[in-house]
């Protein structure tokens, strides 16, 4: 590990810290419907959207407040409709404009279209297809990019609904889904993306509707270079923690992530909104210390992950060392070597920035990558895998990170809170049967999705001419045998259930079996988390607020932060340790 590497990590984090409060305040104002400096311009659009969509208004002219069931019904209806639309768009792309390569339904099978539609709708952006050889510009822009906005906005809205559950008391309603969706998109995601896209263009990210370019390389080989409207998708891909690349190589592709600066910017964008939301949370519950406590817990987990990944990547492997490759970083004029494990990493970014990117993209539910996680050392690769298994609560996805962490906070308070001699309460709300039940359902179903799908895929066998998969074991779709292969399967279902979307790589997922199982894992991971959480939000909103006293469990100090970190890690570790021990852990021990 080099001082240069640490400096870059420090710069990244300083940027995140600096923006947390100002953006947090802005988001709170937007989501509570208060005026902001953008309101004079955007308020008419907001009202126009409500009018066009027929959003029900209350007596005050604002969108009518919804109970949690109505909120959930709106969310489900919206998701179902938009998923179907995206499915249709892919299958009918030949009939639609901006398709210079003439991609048709032939490149998108029904199961792949299902997987992709679900993937973008659930903010997962798992890609079982190679974008530049599968989808037209129109589908990428009007389909995928639009979903990048809306799935992030929906996640943000749900986080706000849960926070309102804590902030309000003795009421039945938790906000209006359509208003949350509209405001998050209009005031937060669109303006930021617009500016970011321009900045990215200035760094060399392309933005065009041209046909692909055929070139002859220096080696004299003919090559087709893909083109497209990349910058507009790239901005929201990072900002909305979506992660679905315009190109297969994702942020390792020079057209998506050309310079060290864009690399820093893209990592920063992943954490930008999730970090700000901790402040938004504190502001909405009228105690910003509560938000900073979550921020601190997230920071500890982020740092631990970064440190681990960076350490093991820089250390390299015995095999590399045996091959005579220099494992120590050098920076003299005579020898400037990165050292460590450079397999699967861009030389533009190096070890520190690839380890950091991998940690950040899986701390959050982004899933963009700038290097190949599959080529990490076993424990370096364990970091992204375990990050997702923890529930992506380390800043996490837009909205998803906050509500995931709040669920852990509820659980932590419930487990340890009794030890202060009171029935557990968090932010003045009693944590009772309903909250515990819902939190457990979410945890249970998510664990089941990861473990059972991965378990089934590691032993399933397919007959000759099977519709589901290529004949033979499903595990044969992996590039590597043994423990590493198991990691690849485990990673795929973890990433899908966690709505991360990053691929370990090394698993051919474009078969009916994997398209469907991964698709279902994504649906389970999104909605079996959201629905219980909305139920919790509804239940909390209806409760009285217990005033704080000396007998109240303090949820803002270092004690709570360490408890929260402990619960997140222990619950994650206890659930996945057996599986991990047969994957990355044993692989490391066998090095």
């Amino acid at each position: 590990m080099t001082s240069n590497g640490w400096l870059q990590i420090a710069i990244f984090f300083a940027l995140v810290v600096a923006c947390t409060k100002p953006l947090g305040i802005f988001i709170a104002n937007v989501m509570e419907g208060r005026g902001t400096w953008l309101s004079p311009v955007l308020r008419p659009f907001e009202n126009l959207i409500y009018k066009l969509c027929g959003v029900r208004r209350g007596d005050d002219g604002l969108p009518a407040e919804q109970t949690w069931t109505r909120y959930a019904a709106s969310l489900l209806a919206f998701s179902a409709f938009s998923t179907l639309l995206l499915y249709a768009m892919q299958r009918l792309q030949i009939l639609l404009p901006f398709n210079p390569r003439g991609f048709s339904a032939n490149t998108v099978s029904p199961d792949l279209a299902f997987n992709t539609a679900v993937s973008f709708n659930t903010n997962t952006n798992w890609q079982n297809y190679v974008p530049e050889t599968t989808l037209s510009y129109f589908v990428q822009m009007a389909g995928l990019t639009v979903h990048n906005f809306l799935s992030a906005a929906a996640g943000l809205g749900i986080a706000m609904a849960l926070v309102r559950g804590f902030a309000r008391h003795s009421v039945q309603t938790i906000g209006n889904f359509w208003a949350d969706l509209t405001r998050a998109t209009l005031y937060i995601l669109l303006p930021l993306s617009f500016v970011i896209a321009l900045v990215l263009c200035s760094q060399g990210v392309i933005q065009n509707l041209n046909a692909y370019t055929a070139v002859t390389t220096l080696e004299g080989v003919k090559q087709t270079i893909a083109q497209g409207p990349v910058a507009s998708q790239e901005a929201i891909k990072m900002l909305g923690t979506n992660g679905g690349g315009f190109f297969n190589a994702n942020s390792a592709h020079p057209f998506e992530n050309p310079t060290a600066f864009t690399n820093l910017l893209e990592m920063f964008l992943i954490f930008l909104i999730p970090a700000a939301l901790t402040y938004t949370f504190g502001k909405m519950v009228r105690d910003t210390r509560q938000g900073w406590a979550l921020f601190a817990a997230m920071t500890i987990l982020w740092f631990a992950g970064t440190l681990t990944a960076y350490h093991f990547e820089q250390q390299g492997t015995p095999a590399l060392r045996k091959a005579g490759i220099e494992m120590t970083a050098t920076s003299t004029a005579a020898s400037a070597q990165s050292g460590g494990n450079m397999e699967g990493k861009e030389t533009r970014f190096g070890i520190a920035n690839t380890a950091l990117f991998a940690t950040v993209t899986t701390d959050a539910s982004c899933g963009a990558i700038n290097g190949w996680h599959d080529s990490f050392t076993p424990l370096g690769g364990l970091v992204p895998l375990f990050n997702i298994q923890l529930g992506e609560v380390v800043f996490g996805g837009v909205g998803a990170g906050l509500y995931g962490m709040l669920m852990f906070a509820i659980l932590a308070v419930f487990i340890a809170g009794l030890m202060v001699g009171r029935t557990p309460e968090y932010l003045g709300k009693k944590i009772e049967k309903k909250e515990v039940k819902m939190a457990m359902i979410a945890m249970l179903v998510l664990a089941a999705s990861i473990l059972f799908f991965a378990g089934a895929s590691s032993v399933a066998e397919f007959a000759k001419n099977s519709y589901w998969n290529t004949p033979g074991p499903a595990a044969a779709n992996t590039n590597n045998p043994g423990a590493h292969g198991l990691s690849e399967i485990l990673y795929a279902f973890t990433s899908a259930t966690g709505n991360n979307g990053s691929a370990f790589g090394g698993l051919n997922g474009n078969t009916v079996w994997y398209n469907l199982t991964l698709g279902f894992a994504m649906l389970i991971g999104r909605f079996m988390m959201l629905l219980p959480l909305l139920a919790i939000a509804g239940s909390l909103a209806g409760k009285k607020q217990i005033p704080v006293s000396a007998g109240t469990f303090p949820t803002h100090g270092p004690l709570f932060v360490s408890l929260l970190v402990g619960v997140v890690v222990i619950v994650g570790a206890l659930t996945y340790f057996p599986a991990l021990s047969l994957g990355p852990i044993v692989e490391h021990l066998m090095l």
């Binding site: 009794l418 009171r422 009772e432 515990v436 590691s458 006293s549 004690l559």
Partner: protein, 702 residues
Amino acid sequence: MTNAAPETPEDSTSLGLSRGKRARPLFDPPIVRRAIADSIVKLNPRTLARNPVMFVVEVGAALTTLLLFKTIATGGGGIGFELQIAAWLWFTVFFANFAEAMAEGRGKAQADSLRKTKSDAMAKKLTAAGKVEMVPASALRKDDVCLCEPNDVIPGDGDVIEGIASVDESVITGESAPVIRESGGDRSAVTGGTKVLSDYIKVRITSNPGETFLDRMIALVEGAQRQKTPNEIALNIMIAGLTLIFLFAVITLAPFAQYSVAHAKTGAVPGVIVLVSLLVCLIPTTIGGLLSAIGIAGMDRVMQHNVLAMSGKAVEAAGDVNTLLLDKTGTITLGNRQAVEFIPVDGVTAAELADAAQLSSLADETPEGRSIVVLAKEKYGLRGRDIAEHEAEFIAFTAQTRMSGINFEGNQIRKGATGSVRQFIEENGGVFPQKASDTADAISRTGGTPLVVSMNNRVLGVIHLKDIVKGGMKERFAQMRMMGIRTVMITGDNPLTAAAIAAEAGVDDFLAQATPQDKLELIRKEQAGGRLVAMTGDGTNDAPALAQADVGVAMNTGTMAAKEAGNMVDLDSNPTKLIEVVAIGKQLLITRGALTTFSIANDVAKYFAIIPAMFAVTYPPLNRLNIMGLHTPESAILAAVIFNALIIIALVPLALRGVKYRPLSAGALLQRNLLVYGLGGVLAPFPGIWIIDRLLAVLHLA
């Protein structure tokens, strides 16, 4: 009663969690014997199904046993290992049952002794014609009237409608001194099973057989009607959820292992017995096994303080209480005002004043009156005189005059409130001296009650009556404050007096000139603000407030209406005990939280024991995770299973007695308990499993 003694904060059981008089040793041999028998009965799967965690263990034990028989039948190897695993899994269930049976046993023993007193006595029922008819007590119905004479056992709960009698209530309260029961007022309630010692009373029965207080008491201490409390239900859901998650983790380990074995081309997929062992070690058996014992023991601890909680929910709510409403009289102060000083005015000597005051109080049977006589005697050596020798006429207190006194040898001696005496003097042509009213005001300001004494049309001076705050109350209220509990004193006094006593006692707030309606409204207001309120009460007019409060402790001496309205009855009728009840509630919740945390934290070590053992052949490098250096795969698995079972039995005393409770702020309490039960829970199993592994090796058991 006995437990008003203040304790210092250093004392671990500070808030008076001293043993009540019903205390038994923790492991009373008859109770242990009975508990062992009960634990076997409780193995019935239908009973156990109520406890998801232990049910899973039982299913695992049964499965293991079946496989053991199969191994024996087919003559396979490893019988010793399988036999031991099966035995220890059964022990795990047994130990959990034993914990619950122990907790129940203490109540059952108590119920038995209560039942003995419930002999089927004959009752003297009064017929409509006024005749006495002998009927069995069980034949009495509500609204029947019966006669109780000396040495009669009162046949059922009821109200005295005629007469006065001294009653022995030791059956219920354990207190042998008789109490007075009389018709009308707040001492009219009698309890079935108690015994009339002198005089006679007529009692109107208020409950049907099987619904009496004694019946309810038996049912409660026996735990027959025990329902899970809200927090217990929530906790059960969580540990059931965790059990399912671990079930998934263990089930899916089979395909992962199959994949690994196929690729490593060596070793074998762990068998069912090993997987079951891992599952049982991971699921929260410690808290799952002890949860109901903790709840029952909490109720029992309340009972040991001679308080009868009508539900576990009430005990749990006691731990959550934010506001304590305490009646001033009897709870904070010693009950009655006492004369502490004679302050004469205008050339009168203190002795003269004392003499007149004593004379005026000789016939005054109120505690205040008696305290005046006593003070005059102690301070000035004035003895009570035989007033029959003199021409004396007593003037009793009336609502109109608001004075009492005596006409003695031609002198009119009066004592009363300042205003009343002033009026009396001025009507008789006298002048009320300024000094007297200044003195009276000064006494009022300090929380005392001034009583002006006059002779004819002249003021002699002022008697200072004072509320005596019980010793140690200030320290207790300070502890309460530290725990985040607000104390509110309720009194009928005027605000000035109330404020002074409140300051002296150190309560946070007070409600002066309180009517029952005010009290009810205060409770509603507190509850609307999200607070939980506890109070004590005894009169019928307290009933609505007792019912409204989250924790309402009725005094046993109180009326039936009050007892019905509250959710606890204090058999000693000691209102200060509310504070102990709160501490017990907190202790119950802390014990639950501590064992839950401990249980989950324990899992970390078990993984390090079992996972390397499972894949010792398939992946030998995994043995580097065997940081405890356990002997063989078999000994490692067995040691983890044994540790898991033994920890339950080791923690039974903690579950029954409760975690030591200290009145600290929530932050300090949490830090301490997290360190002990969280970090301790992570670390403790490492040496534990290691030692068991050594023992197994030494004994050649694995």
